[in-house]
């Protein structure tokens, strides 16, 4: 059976520095997959390569049988891929509701846009309250919600979320994950999430792929990873998912 997303032998380099080396992975329809690994493992490069923002030097990427490699980011977005980038990257000078509208240009069902915006406001009531405020004035957690809402407004089939927990209070992170899971169940989304903490991933539930030094070094149930990390933390006093920088070289 054809998988939702297929990454075959993909390499990425920045100048002479390799960021990803021959990465192969697959996502099935409706699956929730976490990408984990230390800093510099190539997590963001992988997302960049899939979304078309970063050029690959080798390999190919397919979604629903369409070749993504070599396509412009906007063309990939039009195939049903959406992205919540690291650091949120919301449009600070636009209002909240304008941010939600930026990605609706690719939709054929223009009539449904207004209803969908209201749905986002139901899921994130604080955004509804501040719909006419400039997005730059939102708090970090609110911006994260806006970035997720904005990605959803493109009506994606596959959504990638880069470190949703970065810089947010644990309580807010819980809330963000609750909403993500709920939305996934409602819409039948496939989710690819970068998450440093295996414990967090295990609590949300799903498969986990471990990257290190630009290669896949582990693939399995998030709960199993969390257990291993807890053990090694107990024995060595450090989490395996976040080893020291020297170990990553």
């Amino acid at each position: 059976m054809m998988s939702k997303l297929g990454v075959f032998d993909v390499s990425v380099r920045y100048g002479k520095v390799p960021a990803l080396t021959d990465v192969t992975l697959h996502l099935e329809e409706g699956e929730r997959v976490f990408i984990s690994g230390p800093n510099g493992a190539g997590k963001s490069s992988l997302l960049g390569a899939i979304s078309g923002a970063v050029a690959t030097t080798h390999g190919r990427i397919e979604m629903d049988g369409h070749l993504l490699t070599g396509r412009a980011p906007e063309a990939i977005a039009r195939l049903g891929l959406s992205m919540v980038p690291e650091g949120r990257e919301i449009f600070g000078s636009l209002t909240v509701s304008e941010n939600l509208r930026v990605g609706t240009g690719l939709r054929r069902d223009r009539g449904a846009v207004e209803g969908d915006i209201e749905e986002i406001f139901e899921a994130f009531p604080i955004l509804g309250e501040r719909r006419h405020a400039s997005a730059g004035a939102l708090s970090g957690g609110q911006q994260q919600m806006l970035a997720i809402g904005r990605a959803l407004m493109t009506n994606p089939k596959l959504m990638m979320v880069d470190e949703p927990s970065l810089g947010l209070a644990p309580k807010i992170v819980d809330q963000v994950y609750d909403t993500l899971v709920q939305l996934q169940e409602e819409r039948g989304l496939t989710l690819l999430i970068v998450e440093q903490s295996s414990t967090r991933a295990a609590r949300v539930g799903g498969r986990m792929i471990l990257l290190r030094g630009g290669s896949v070094v582990g693939d399995g149930d998030a709960a199993a990873f969390a257990e291993k990390d807890l053990l090694s933390e107990a024995y060595f006093g450090q989490s395996k998912a976040q080893p020291k920088k020297e170990a990553a070289q």
């Binding site: 078309g52 980011p73 977005a77 449009f91 600070g92 000078s93 493109t154």
Partner: protein, 304 residues
């Protein structure tokens, strides 16, 4: 003795021209970080499109003969076309180049256009007469103001409002604003880079054509060098306004127009020929005081 009202209209109409030219430059800078030195030559190109190609001193009207309702849209279309064509031929191939490389190539492109005009029309300034009736004075607030000045002020306001509406209310406007802030993110959301950039160039070129129409009517001269002069002032306005900020460009355009008229009126007679030198010195002083521009956009901060 020039009255205050007279000064005001002089300043507002000159500032209006500068503001529109600056808007054309700021639009493109905002979307693709291109400092487009060819912008002035779009203006010159549109002025010369009014007359029959020849190197004679007296100009024979060509497009300029058409009635206004036909002439205005055709010329705006021509300006937009020239700008879009230059993007297609030159800048599209430089999407990954540095802003400095793009700036230099736009300088080269401007030089090519200017010399092409020079080759076709000759170097002597030509007298042209486009809508001469508009220069008849009318009395406003006790001042004798050429009708054209009123029209310029009104047109500027109209153009600025129309542009603001377009940016605020249309799909293309929303995409352009998003792209101006973060092009990569906009593209990840399905915004087509080529559509936004082509749109920005078309708007910019149409603005250049509007400036050309006003300048041709007001000065009654077609000069190959006119593009370079207006471009320099417009650039300075964009920088003072905060590169990429559209309201800033408009405000700075009016500011420079005002400063220029005031200097002309109040400088001692013997240094008046040096007016532009004073103006540019003021500009450098302005830049030193606020390098990010007087009306810097929040998104235009350097990323460090």
């Amino acid at each position: 003795m020039t009255s205050l009202a007279q000064l005001f209209f002089d300043a507002a109409s000159l500032g209006g021209i500068y503001a529109m030219a600056a808007l054309g430059i700021a639009l493109i800078f905002g979307v693709m970080n291109l400092v487009n030195f060819a912008h002035g030559e779009y203006i010159a190109f549109c002025v010369f499109a009014l007359i029959v190609p020849s190197t004679e001193a007296v100009a024979v009207m060509f497009l300029g003969k058409a009635p206004a309702f036909l002439l205005i849209p055709v010329l705006l279309g021509l300006g937009a076309g020239a700008a879009v064509a230059s993007e297609y031929v030159v800048f599209r191939h430089m999407r990954k180049a540095t802003p400095v490389a793009m700036m230099i190539s736009s300088f080269a492109l401007g030089f090519v256009i200017q010399n092409a005009l020079l080759a076709v029309y000759g170097g002597r300034p030509k007298a042209i007469s486009l809508w001469p009736d508009l220069n008849t004075p009318v009395g406003v607030l006790g001042a004798q103001v050429p009708l054209l000045q009123l029209i310029v002020v009104l047109t500027t306001l109209l153009v600025v409002c129309a542009l603001a509406l377009l940016l605020k209310k249309t799909r293309l406007g929303l995409e352009m604003r998003a792209a101006a802030e973060n092009f990569t993110m906009a593209r990840l959301l399905g915004v087509r880079a080529n559509v936004v950039i082509t749109g920005a160039f078309a708007l910019s070129g149409a603005l250049a054509a509007a400036v050309a129409l006003i300048m041709a009517t007001q000065t009654g001269v077609a000069d190959v060098r006119m593009g370079g002069q207006i471009m320099l002032v417009a650039f300075i306005a964009t920088v003072i306004g905060g590169l990429g900020s559209l309201p800033g460009a408009v405000a700075a355009g009016f500011l420079i127009g005002g400063a220029s008229v005031l200097l002309q009126a109040f400088l001692p007679l013997e240094v008046r020929p040096f007016r532009d030198a004073f103006l540019y010195t003021l500009v450098i002083a302005c830049l030193l005081l606020r390098p990010q521009g007087l009306f810097a956009a929040s998104s235009a901060k350097p990323r460090i």
